[in-house]
């Protein structure tokens, strides 16, 4: 009963034999993670910038709210999204329950507060002289946004990496909203939960190794882009 060595062997087997079930799960994971991360960044970067840059009434309450949302349990997000998307729920018409885009929506709710909070913090901590300098050079608001975001790009890359890490490893939302349907909405994490439930511990560990390898590849790519950006 050596789950680790058995799991490692099994992981190599899964990868070398291009196991269709494992790759279907990798694919589902990639799709929902890409959807959720893209949506989180698209919404979170501008809003996070606004939150960190502008001084408006209610700003501190908004910040508090965003930081509070970081603690929202994924099972609760899953339940909320299920309640919205169930055929008889308010958004049932959209037909998103038990689909990859539906899972993407749920996972966006997980990633968004991370991007918002970390972007706001990064923008807050950029040098105030940057704003003055850029504005005195005749930049408009849009150019200021890009100048600030570009100055804070490493902090935001960290925000994206953190959000990626949480989204890719999430299981509660994926299970509740996706339904763990074989060949369709079964992600690596829900597959691990299933295999563990079935007593296939070694396969569970093998899939865990596969997930970590996928994450490693993504992180390496990001590091590569970053080195290019610096150079």
């Amino acid at each position: 009963m050596d789950y680790f060595s058995e799991g490692l062997t099994r992981a190599v087997e899964l990868l070398l034999s291009l196991d269709p079930e494992a790759f279907s799960a990798v694919w589902a994971t990639a799709v929902v993670t890409a959807l959720a991360l893209a949506a989180s960044l698209l919404i979170g970067l501008p809003l996070g910038f606004a939150l960190g840059h502008f001084r408006f009434p209610g700003r501190r309450v908004a910040r508090l709210f965003v930081d509070w949302m970081l603690s929202l349990p994924t099972v609760v997000i899953g339940l909320i999204v299920y309640a919205m998307f169930t055929t008889r729920g308010p958004l049932g018409e959209w037909g998103l329950l038990f689909t990859l885009p539906g899972m993407g929506v749920g996972l966006t709710l997980l990633g968004l507060p991370i991007i918002l909070s970390m972007t706001a913090t990064a923008v807050e901590s950029t040098d105030v002289r940057l704003t003055e300098t850029v504005l005195s050079l005749g930049a408009d608001r849009m150019q200021l946004l890009f100048a600030t975001l570009s100055e804070a790009r490493f902090a935001m890359a960290l925000a994206a990496a953190s959000a990626f890490g949480r989204i890719v490893s999430e299981v509660g939302i994926a299970m509740m909203v996706g339904g763990n349907i074989k060949w369709h909405t079964r992600t690596i994490t829900t597959a691990i939960a299933l295999e563990t439930g079935k007593g296939e511990f070694a396969t569970g560990i093998a899939l865990g190794i596969v997930l970590m390898l996928v994450a490693l590849v993504v992180n390496l790519l990001v590091a590569l882009l970053r080195r290019r950006a610096v150079a």
Binding site: R88, G89, L97, N180, I181, K182, G197, G199
Partner: protein, 274 residues
């Protein structure tokens, strides 16, 4: 060049994803036992061949499966909790209930049998366990198995809940069995999961201590959902139901074996004597 190959790879992946959606799909709300034992994996290709339906399933506890049905989130239900199913139909959440196969439950416990219940009927065995305060692991997740177990306690005139010897696991059958093995507890399991568990964990220390009682029979039914579920695939659901009760479907169920043992007994048209 690099960009081009990336686009090519993406296109290939998309084509692959598109292919899978050719046959008409049907979403079955079912219980962990039909999925975990591999029965549905075994039947799905046969269903596809005979009916052209691409069977997909959401395997959860019966409680959650019925909730999915109530919300019209699945096309058809395949569950095993007769009491809850009848209420489900009476409440107007389902239109028909067709019994099509059964398996049975067994009472398992430590080989040493500390409460001395070997060979007793289910009700007597539970009474003895409670009297001896021997550890008992319960699913505690409102699944079909959990409902059956609660019913057995009720028939025995007992309702353990906060008793220290009564462990409510709140997870699937295999997890519960494993916990029973680690804690030297008794538990009730469907035979299918038991065979799969025993095949995998030879030295669990658990053995069957009581079986064969009529009260331990586990009847599975197919439930069709009412017209008020306007979005679901009613025709496909009828087709699937027809396949399961047909001689071909019934034979396929009987042919399914795990570790050389038949798990489910088809009984469409012959309702369980209960």
């Amino acid at each position: 060049m690099r960009k081009f190959s990336l686009i090519l790879a993406l296109a290939a992946l998309l084509a692959f994803a598109g292919n899978a959606a050719a046959a008409e799909s049907i979403l079955v709300g079912t219980t962990t036992s039909t999925a975990d034992t591999g029965l549905l994996d075994y039947l799905a290709p046969k269903v596809l061949k005979d009916t052209g339906l691409d069977m997909r399933w959401i395997a959860v506890g019966t409680g959650k499966a019925l909730e999915h049905g109530k919300n019209c989130d699945v096309d058809i239900l395949m569950v095993h909790a007769p009491g809850a199913e009848k209420k489900f139909i009476a409440d107007g959440n389902g239109v028909s209930r067709t019994e099509f196969m059964f398996n049975d439950f067994v009472l398992v416990g430590p080989a040493k049998d500390p409460a001395k219940i070997k060979g007793k009927s289910a009700a007597d065995a539970l009474k003895t366990i409670a009297a001896a305060k021997a550890s008992f692991a319960s699913r505690g997740d409102d699944s079909g198995t959990d409902k059956l177990e609660k019913g057995l306690w009720k028939n025995a005139g007992l309702a353990p809940d906060k008793d220290p010897w009564y462990i409510q696991v709140g997870q699937g059958m295999l997890v519960t069995l494993r916990m029973a093995a680690e804690r030297g507890a008794y538990t009730i399991t469907d035979r299918g999961t038991w065979i799969a568990f025993e095949a995998k964990e030879h030295h669990s220390g658990l053995v069957i201590v009581s079986e064969g009682d009529m009260a331990l029979r586990n009847q599975y039914s197919i439930i069709l959902l009412p017209p008020k579920c306007s979005k679901i695939k009613h025709e496909a659901a009828k087709k699937l139901q027809a396949w399961f009760v047909s001689p071909v479907g019934q034979k396929a169920i009987a042919d399914f074996k795990v570790e050389g043992k038949q798990l489910f007994t088809p009984n469409a048209g012959r309702s369980a004597a209960k």
